[in-house]
């Protein structure tokens, strides 16, 4: 590794950083695009349909519908890039990136495998090494940024349906953020720190010591709020076929639209990685004290993809909420629940548990 780094005129530390960034972000983008396929085929299976299975490379290779991804990508690239008249052009162009980048970089602090030592140097498998001072506050803060993407996309496209969708979505995101943060604060409290590595280390390798067992209420609140945060059904208020056309991305087409869609799925990936880290022991392998690096990465990926699948699964199970029901749930159920959770665990800690 050192030789490769010196070949590229980099210090090993920077080289390792670049490698991590490339691997992590390309993996997430790949997973996000594959998840569009999982969503379509999975929903088809759930509803006794078949789903996209016709697209084929050279009319031959179908690979169970995965060629649809390529077809969609090519289609989006070659479509006309329309910007509506009277749209705020700058913001209209900026919005998809503002939606996409926060969804992606929220992953930066999450460890996706255990650290290993090589040549006296410890290598950490997370883009930012632990002890960076931001810890899990960073994905929370970045998650809050995602509102801007939706809101700007809605506002800049000069369409009243869009802005209705954007306002609804941002209201939902902001109000669910409080419940979510309180659930996370409870974890910080019981952990004694907010570094993801620390959170994972405290949970240990035994499944009954994971936070899901210790704080099931916190998990339910956090997971529910994640649905609102990522703007997915049953809380997808940015969109709404029957009410406001396609919502915030009504005016978007071609690659900008696909970037918005990709942002949603990257957000989903980051959210499921967060759930896995906070409540399911991150890269810890159940019952294995010191797993190998590959095993820990596999374990993390499995947990993350499972939760990504749960996102899809719930989307095709539950009907949408009405807006007032959403607000009711957010403010009158989720917030008190997470507060009670916080107080309960504070009390337990004061009792010396």
């Amino acid at each position: 590794m050192d030789k490769l780094a010196s070949l590229l005129h980099m210090t090993p530390a920077i080289f390792w950083m670049v490698v991590k960034v490339v691997i992590v972000f390309s993996a997430i983008m790949l997973l996000a695009s594959v998840w569009t396929w999982v969503e379509r085929r999975g929903s088809a299976m759930i509803q006794d349909r078949i789903g996209p299975n016709r697209a084929a490379i050279f009319g031959k290779i179908r690979i169970i519908g995965l060629a649809q991804l390529l077809a969609d990508g090519i289609k989006f690239f070659f479509k006309e890039d329309l910007v509506p008249e009277d749209a705020n052009k700058g913001l209209f162009w900026l919005a998809p990136f503002l939606a996409f980048v926060p969804a992606l970089i929220g992953f930066a602090v999450i460890p996706f495998g255990r650290s290993f030592e090589s040549g006296g140097v410890t290598y950490y498998l997370s883009v930012l090494d632990p002890g960076n001072g931001m810890g899990l506050l960073y994905p929370m803060a970045i998650g809050g940024m995602a509102v801007y993407g939706v809101l700007l996309a809605a506002w800049s496209s000069n369409n009243k349906w869009s802005i209705l969708g954007g306002m609804r979505a941002s209201a939902a995101m902001v109000s669910y953020e409080i419940g979510m943060s309180l659930a996370v604060v409870t974890i910080f409290m019981t952990t004694g720190g907010y570094d993801p590595a620390e959170v994972i280390k405290t949970q240990g390798h035994l499944p009954w010591a994971w936070n899901i067992v210790r704080q099931p209420i916190g998990f339910i609140v956090f997971f529910t709020c994640m649905f609102a945060e990522t703007n997915r059904l049953p809380f997808d208020f940015a969109e709404g076929e029957s009410e406001i056309v396609a919502g915030f991305n009504t005016e978007y087409g071609s690659m900008k639209f696909s970037l918005l869609a990709l942002a949603e799925y990257s957000h989903l990936m980051t959210a499921s990685a967060l759930v896995a880290t906070l409540y399911f022991g991150g890269w810890q392998v159940p019952f294995v004290q010191n797993p190998t690096v590959m095993l820990s990465v596999a374990s993390f990926l499995l947990k993350m993809l499972f939760f990504a699948w749960v996102f899809v699964w719930i989307r095709w199970t539950l009907p949408r909420f009405r807006y007032d029901q959403l607000m009711h749930l957010g403010w009158k159920v989720m917030l008190p629940l997470s507060m009670a959770n916080l107080v309960f665990h504070a009390w337990r800690m004061s009792q010396g548990h």
Binding site: M45, D48, I314
Partner: protein, 187 residues
């Protein structure tokens, strides 16, 4: 008159919302697993170009003009179908075709031209109902498509040959010379 709507009382378990969600998720997951292990031919969806639905008897698809065993058209150009057609898509041109007449057991008329505009046809089967000679049938072929309007106008020979391959009959392009009387008339 007022109608008393009975309100559904939810149990406390249902009101937690978590339990019903779990139930719903188990249902959808059951469907998912079942479909995952069901082979394509056993699914509800029919993969159209490769798989085709079995057409029930009495289906009203593409028309056929029936023929006698010697290849003569059964149609006697009585214009009943043209009259009955609600879409006005049938147009017939009649001709007299021999010196032999009905008293000798021969039909006297047959269509010189018989065309159905398949773009206008609504496949209602009224022509079949109206036909006194049982000469026009609507059968099971439903794949009627073409690249231009003109080829959707089926002529006499097109209509006589629509099911020739399916029935294992030869394709016709010419009326046979009448030789055998179609019926004997008791004088």
């Amino acid at each position: 008159m007022g109608v008393i709507v009975k309100k559904v009382e939810l149990s406390w378990l249902d009101r937690t919302y978590v339990w019903p969600v779990m139930k719903g998720m188990s249902i959808t997951f059951g469907h998912f697993i079942r479909n995952l292990f069901t082979t394509t031919p056993n699914r509800y969806t029919i993969q159209y170009p490769e798989m085709k639905k079995e057409i029930p008897e009495g289906y009203r698809g593409l028309h056929e003009l029936k023929r006698f065993e010697d290849g003569a058209i059964k149609c006697v150009a009585c214009f009943m179908c043209q009259e009955a057609c609600p879409a006005r898509c049938i147009s017939i041109e009649a001709e007299e075709f021999s010196d032999l007449n009905i008293t000798q057991g021969f039909e006297e008329k047959r269509p010189a031209k018989f065309s159905i505009d398949m773009l206008r046809c609504i496949y209602c089967g009224m022509c079949e109902e109206a036909c006194p000679k049982d000469a026009i049938w609507l059968r099971n072929d439903y794949e009627v498509a073409a690249y231009d309007r003109l080829s959707m106008k089926y002529g006499k020979w097109d209509l006589m040959n629509t099911y020739a391959e399916a029935d294992g009959k030869e394709r016709l392009s010419q009326d046979p010379t009448p030789s055998v009387p179609r019926r004997t008339i008791v004088m």
